[in-house]
């Protein structure tokens, strides 16, 4: 039965991938992509990557989907022009051949791996007691490879600045997104009042259990960002203008705290981002608490887009 499930999933995913590529209009392709994300969550589940499945469900399904749909809606007016400029058949065949070649190379590499595949997992599990966290993923992300996580947080900030740079000159420093009228029907306003408390509790819960069970700050931050976006969509709260001091402070607080902990480690334990004996859990918590608001803001602001409205008087 498991084989049926796995084959079924693989077939569905391949079919969806083909459909996403050949779909005529952007919104149809986006929907295909979102379902693809949902199925990938199940694949990760089957591969026993629970943390990855959590992240895929949060980001691949929800957040990226909304990002793409709003992009597709915004691009609707330019669809006909884009279609007129579509590359010729030979270019597309070349692209298809190239993609197939890369896929083939990847498949050969994976299939040619020795049995059992080389992995550092046993070493992680052997040394995990030192980090005082129970979840090996968290231990890798925030202890053994904390440097990567720090750089990733900084890259996210740069991405946000990149999105902001798309603002028209007169709107710089203003509020992103269009002003949302509070829904006349009241339906969205109702949901935006009832769902976010539940979502916030769920987000904090998933953040908190990330220490010992699958979860962590990234998935938790995604949930919090989604709830914030929901409230803004309903018009109950307006988007903050991007030159607000508190916003900018919160955005850099995460990476700054991370770097501070790293310097502390360099001073007390001999290397940047190493943790002094016995303080590992505390420092990891400090980093996570500082990164949570940063990540939430970054994710929410990236979905809102570039500032479109100048500062309201």
């Amino acid at each position: 039965m498991i084989e049926v499930l796995n084959f079924g999933l693989a077939a569905l995913i391949l079919g969806l991938a083909v459909w996403t590529v050949v779909a005529r209009e952007a919104p149809a392709a986006v929907v295909g992509f979102i379902v693809y994300g949902l199925l990938l969550t199940l694949v990760w589940l089957q591969l026993q990557g629970i943390d990855v499945a959590l992240t895929e469900a949060a980001i691949g399904g929800g957040l990226t989907g909304v990002l793409l749909i709003s992009a597709a809606v915004r691009l609707r007016s330019t669809e006909s022009t884009a279609r007129a400029q579509r590359p010729g058949a030979s270019t597309r065949w070349l692209a298809a051949a190239l993609s197939a070649a890369v896929t083939g190379a990847l498949a050969i590499c994976v299939l040619a791996l020795p049995e059992p595949a080389p992995t550092l997992a046993p070493q992680v599990l052997a040394n995990i007691a030192v980090t005082e966290v129970g979840n090996p993923i968290t231990a890798v992300l925030l202890a053994f490879r904390a440097m990567d996580t720090l750089l990733e947080a900084i890259v996210l900030l740069f991405a946000l600045i990149g999105v902001w740079s798309l603002a028209p000159d007169r709107a710089w420093g203003g509020r992103p997104g269009l002003l949302q009228q509070a829904d006349g029907n009241g339906m969205l306003a109702y949901v935006a009042r009832v769902l976010p408390p539940i979502g916030i509790v769920a987000g904090i819960y998933i953040f908190w259990i990330g220490a010992d069970h699958p979860g962590g700050k990234f998935q938790g931050a995604t949930l919090l960002a989604a709830m914030w976006l929901l409230v803004m969509m309903a018009g109950l709260v307006d988007a903050p203008s991007i030159n607000r001091r508190w916003l900018r402070w919160l955005l850099v607080a995460g990476p700054l705290a991370f770097i501070a902990v790293g310097v502390l480690g360099a001073v007390t334990a001999g290397a940047f981002l190493s943790y002094p004996q016995g303080y590992a859990k505390t420092l990891i918590l400090v980093i996570e608490f500082a990164l949570m608001p940063t990540l939430t803001l970054v994710l929410g602001l990236m979905l809102l887009g570039a500032p479109l409205r100048g500062e309201a008087p």
């Binding site: 029907n185 339906m187 969205l188 109702y190 949901v191 009832v194 539940i198």
Partner: protein, 97 residues
Amino acid sequence: MKLFLDLWTLVGVLAGAFFFFAGTVGLLRFPDSLTRLHALSKADNLGLGLVVLGLLPQMDSVAAGIKLVGIWLLVLLSGATAAQWIARTLRQSGPGP
């Protein structure tokens, strides 16, 4: 006791799967958007609800069971409001083909 619990799971999950089936068939075959919406909400409420009910005996703790029921209530809430909203918008712009 174990036999009874397993039987409960069997019945619950089968019933839930049936409602998913019914909802999907409705979504595919009903003649217009509003009726399809009706079929969809059956899958949401009853399909997932019966599956959750069936899975409760398989959980190892009461907390896990409560979490499952919580997930169902969440889906119920969002499904119901989304259905209401879609229905209202359809009614405003005409039900369509």
